[in-house]
């Protein structure tokens, strides 16, 4: 869906739900997921509708993902890191996980 404008700069690898994806250093988690063609990062807790990052600037909270075990982080505000483990969130989070 999204294409990078230029293809320069160093890359790294993170995993999303266990699957490795390549990202550019300086990408946010949300940008890296969109660039990798992942079209939703969670489903909503009440109706289960799929959601994708939207505002990309920290205000809409659509981009929530679990990052290295910490739930409901805003993917658009977290820079990617080598080996980072991102998990999409389905519905309500389970307390204690």
């Amino acid at each position: 869906m999204f294409k990078r404008l230029g293809d320069t700069g160093a890359t790294l690898t993170l995993t999303v739900d266990g699957k490795p994806i390549r990202a550019r250093i300086g990408d946010t988690v949300a940008a890296a997921m969109l660039a990798a063609g992942i079209d939703h990062c969670r489903t909503t807790p009440v109706s289960g509708a799929p959601r994708a990052p939207y505002c990309l600037m920290g205000v809409c909270f659509e981009c929530l993902v679990t990052v290295d075990g910490v739930g409901s982080r805003q993917g658009c505000l977290v820079p990617v890191a080598e080996g980072m483990k991102v998990e999409t969130q389905l519905g309500k989070r389970e307390a204690g996980r």
Partner: protein, 374 residues
């Protein structure tokens, strides 16, 4: 405005006012609700949403019976609202807990319940002290620090903001006139009618029901009534939505129908609704985590404070004025719990023009005058 266009003017559009107004409309009254604007301080927008029985009535035994009556009426109240509006206020009554984090707290809890239920003439209902193992059978996720708790099968909860919206929807459907930005500044009586003065004009009605929360203190003397108030602040901490794990409300902590966990039972003397004392939220949250350790990894998404409508002794006030017959006060803390009573019991009394002393006599503000009580 037509002269005497309204049978009853309800002053205040919080939960108490709208529940009363809905009940009045059901009795066939032509009702107007006069309210402040969107930025008004409203307990009804910031409360904890319990429909709660256990612990109520120490110091005024009839309050226990009054609370049980509302608790028993609540399911039917919610069902009627659903039929009228199509909206579900998510009332549930699975029974609720008060949890103790030490043997000393558990003992204090047992003593308090005994004192409450030993009062002469108090309504009898089940409220039992359970040890850790018995609590754990119903709340499997409690932590090791929970010594036990008290359990009452009458306790429940509701989606309080949805209740507020549903009542407004129901009022609208029944043709009640709701006038926001109509803060009542003065009330006078002429020719058997009440004139309610606002900056946007004067409204005339045959009767007036004062349901303006803490502002009743200022309004009641205008019609020969009194409402001694002592507002206090409470704070609430809210987590992200979590899969259901807590199937009974705890007095300090409950999981809503949509999954968020609300934490809070604080009391402060402050009356600044914009302020928030971080230490208070932190204490609430840390006690919650000791009760349910799995909450340690939940994210907090919101905290707020709200001002409780509180009479000086904590019990409701219902009165009709002797000098200005037709003027009533309807004023209380626990306006969520008592919403069914206000709609189904108090409103019909106001419509008839007489409060039934056998039901609400003990809640007259005359109790504040020690000399007069003899």
């Amino acid at each position: 405005m037509l002269k005497d266009a309204y049978d009853v003017a309800v002053v205040g559009g919080g939960l108490v006012g709208v529940a009363t107004a809905w009940g009045l409309a059901r009795e066939g009254c032509r009702v107007v609700v006069l309210d402040e604007g969107d930025r008004a301080v409203r307990a009804s927008r910031g409360n904890f949403a319990l429909v709660w029985v256990q612990s109520k009535g120490y110091g005024l035994a009839p309050y226990a019976g009054w609370t049980v009556r509302s608790s028993e009426a609540w399911a039917g109240f919610a069902e009627t609202l659903k039929q009228e509006t199509g909206l579900d206020v998510c009332f549930q009554r699975p029974g609720g807990f008060h949890l103790a984090l030490s043997e000393a707290e558990l003992q204090a809890r047992a003593d308090a319940l005994k004192r409450l239920h030993n009062q002469p003439g108090i309504v009898q209902y089940k409220a039992e002290i359970l040890d850790h193992a018995a609590v754990k059978r119903m709340l499997p996720d409690i932590g090791p620090e929970v010594a036990g708790g008290s359990y009452c099968p009458l306790d429940g909860h509701v989606n309080s903001l949805r209740l507020f919206r549903t009542l407004h929807t129901a009022l609208n459907a029944r043709g009640v006139t709701y006038l926001p930005d109509h803060r009542v500044e003065a009330i006078t009586r002429e020719g058997g009618e009440f004139q309610l003065v606002t900056a946007r004009g004067t409204i005339t009605a045959g009767k007036v029901a004062l349901a303006a929360g803490n502002a009743n203190m200022r309004l009641a003397p205008m019609v020969g009534l009194e409402a001694p108030m002592l507002p206090e602040r409470g704070q609430i901490v809210v987590t992200e939505r979590l899969r259901p794990f807590l199937h009974h409300p705890v007095v300090t902590l409950r999981q809503t129908d949509e999954g968020t966990v609300m934490i809070g039972d604080s009391r402060e003397e402050s009356t600044d609704p914009r302020g928030l004392t971080i230490g208070v939220s932190a204490t609430e949250a840390s006690r919650a985590v000791r009760m349910f350790p799995l909450l340690a990894s939940a994210n907090v998404v919101r905290t707020w404070s709200a001002i409780r409508v509180m009479t000086q002794d904590g019990f409701p006030i219902y009165d009709q004025s002797e000098s200005h017959p037709g003027a009533f006060t309807v004023c209380c803390h626990s306006g969520v719990t008592l919403a069914a009573n206000h709609a189904l019991t108090v409103a019909p009394m106001i419509a008839r023009g007489a409060l039934d002393a056998s039901l609400v006599g003990p809640f007259s503000a005359r109790r504040f005058h020690v000399q007069a009580a003899g």
